[in-house]
Amino acid sequence: MKIRTMITLSTAMAGLAFASSASAAEYRIGITQNNVGVDSYQTTYDQSFKEAVEANDSVEAVVLDAGGDVARQIAQIEDLIQQQVQAIIIWPTNGEAVIPAVRKAKNAGIPVIVTNSNIAEAGFDFVKSFSGPDNITQGSRSAEIMCDKFKEMGIETTAQVVQISGQPGYTTAIERQKGFDDRLPEVCPDVTVLETQPGDWNREKSQKVMEAFLVKYDKIDGVYAGDDNMGVGALNAAKAAGREGIIFVGATNFAVGYEAMEKGEYWGSIYQSPVDDAKAALKTAIDVLDGKEVPFLNYFDTPKITQDNMSNFTKPVF
């Protein structure tokens, strides 16, 4: 009796679901995200993605979250294959471990789009396109922002810089550092990078690192931090030590960085919006399904933001 009721119910529900999906959308896209709720960036990404799907009549989406767990993400990819979605977007929890599941999707004829952070190179053959920020460009743009400011101040021949990088081993951290280290000598060959130490994406750790830099070096003209959270930590250290006139440049403009820029304490950053990130991923997937030619590395633009042009940008929500 009970079982029969359940079967009837579930059949009815499945029928309903089928009916609604058949009537509404042209494309069904599945997404498995890395870890929604662990930071504001990912939380905002999740909301924006859902809103973008809502706003577009031709798509509907199965939105999943792996909770940072590789095994769960692999299971979710397999579920999405079973559900026969037309495209899968994946925000990898781990660039290596998801490759077999991605291959499975490709073999099932489902195009895979990677979003935000790319998977390892061994899996590139199974991926249609990567949609995300270009962290090397971000690093070089930060170098340009800093160099331009030094030139404006007339200290481009003497300036000394310290760098606070992200967590060792993170691709984002490595790429931003590489972009900065490569570009700075091209645009400002006489600027010296005194030292680079990791701040682990952590404001307090970055504050400690900066305190040590301030004790060690009497002359620091600029600080490049791998994101604004760390940049603001360094700024706090400089303020506490009463050292003024230092040019702070970060990346991933956070609300705190934006506020410090408004106050004139922080010079510039790179504007990376989770809203743009989410929209770009969805657009890439739709373009693929429309049969358009999509570049393999489909970067969305992350522009420079400084005190001079910040009025063109809305304050980040995270």
Binding site: D39, N202, R203, E204, K208, E211, V215, K216, N236, A255
Partner: protein, 325 residues
């Protein structure tokens, strides 16, 4: 005893304060490497940023002496930091601080109940609470960074950023709390009970000590210290990520053990914990001043800690190698 210096008076002092001697040796070494290491503003800076770890270590010292572990202090500190920052803008700092202390003490009481009254293994309980509290914090904040809106117009910054009598307030709080808890541990009946419970729980019970109550109180003390640390942290940066305390539980435990407390319980003092905290703080700072690459720093930190522990043990037994080895 076959060893050399343990017989003389100097030997006696060495045996008692091996860790202190290790500390002095490292300080001299770092000063030779960079003469600014002992500059007053650097020393003040290190002690100030060690204060957060230090305050947490005070509470954990009680827990460890009572024969238990507390691995939840890192995520509990994230919790209290996020909560006080969030409530600051909602109900004002005067109410936010007691509210945050109350919530953090509830967590401490819960752990104390599980370990003390239900006699569950403290490693399992607090390791579980490590992730459970992290989840709680994320649920509370929705994953968003917390920031105080009006950073210039609040007196809340006093706990982390201002100075009194030329000494930064975090150091004063750390010093005051250390003095009070040091007295409690060394001079009060409760302090003796903590040692008794950790040293020999069964004997303590037969002496009429209520073990559960002592353990429960230790966890409450630990939670109180964590809340204080969260207050300093929140006040220092007036904004925070959800993961601000992540990994601190191991640093705290390392400081306490480095100070000479036994993981098995029954031994340790507040003074030695402070030395342990300062050693860790000065190593971190000293290596930055020397300018080693960070991957080398990880290894060198380990080497220094091992050397410190070895010196401590060698001084206690009066010889470098173990007599049974």
């Amino acid at each position: 005893m076959a060893g050399g210096f343990s017989r003389s008076n100097i030997g006696g002092l060495l045996a008692k304060q091996g860790i202190l001697i290790a500390f002095v040796i490292f300080m001299i070494g770092f000063t030779i490497a960079n003469e600014r290491f002992l500059a007053p503003e650097n020393v003040m800076g290190v002690v100030r940023s060690s204060a957060i770890l230090g305050v947490m270590a005070l509470g954990v010292t009680f827990v460890v002496i009572s024969g238990n572990l507390d691995l939840s202090v890192g995520s509990m500190m994230s919790f209290s930091t996020i909560v006080v920052l969030d409530l600051h803008d909602k109900i004002g700092p005067a109410l936010a601080i007691p509210a945050m202390f109350a919530m953090t003490l509830c967590l401490g009481a819960f752990i104390g109940f599980l370990v003390g009254y239900l006699k569950l293994n403290s490693l399992i309980v607090t390791l579980g609470m490590l992730s459970a509290i992290h989840g709680l914090t994320l649920t509370y904040s929705g994953g968003k960074n917390m920031d105080i809106a009006d950073k210039d117009g609040t007196w809340f910054a006093v706990f982390g950023q201002s100075s009194a009598l030329g000494i930064p307030v975090p150091i004063l709080i750390f010093g005051l709390l250390a003095a009070v808890l040091g007295m409690v541990l060394a001079k009060t009946p409760f302090g003796r009970k903590v040692y008794a419970v950790g040293g020999n729980g069964v004997a303590a019970t037969f002496s009429g000590i209520r073990r559960a109550r002592v353990v429960f109180t230790c966890y409450l003390l630990s939670a109180f210290c964590v809340a204080t640390a969260g207050l300093i942290q929140a006040s220092r940066s007036l904004g925070s990520q959800n993961t601000v305390g992540q990994g601190l539980e191991l640093e705290v435990l390392a400081a306490v053990i480095l100070g000479g407390a036994s993981l098995l319980g029954g031994s340790g003092t507040i003074f030695k914990t402070i030395v342990g905290v300062l050693i860790l703080g000065f190593i971190q700072n000293g290596l930055l001043l020397v300018g080693l690459q960070f991957y080398a720093q990880y290894v060198v930190t380990w080497v220094i800690i091992i050397l410190a522990v070895w010196l401590d043990i060698a001084a206690k037994r009066g010889r470098l190698l173990s007599p049974i080895a």
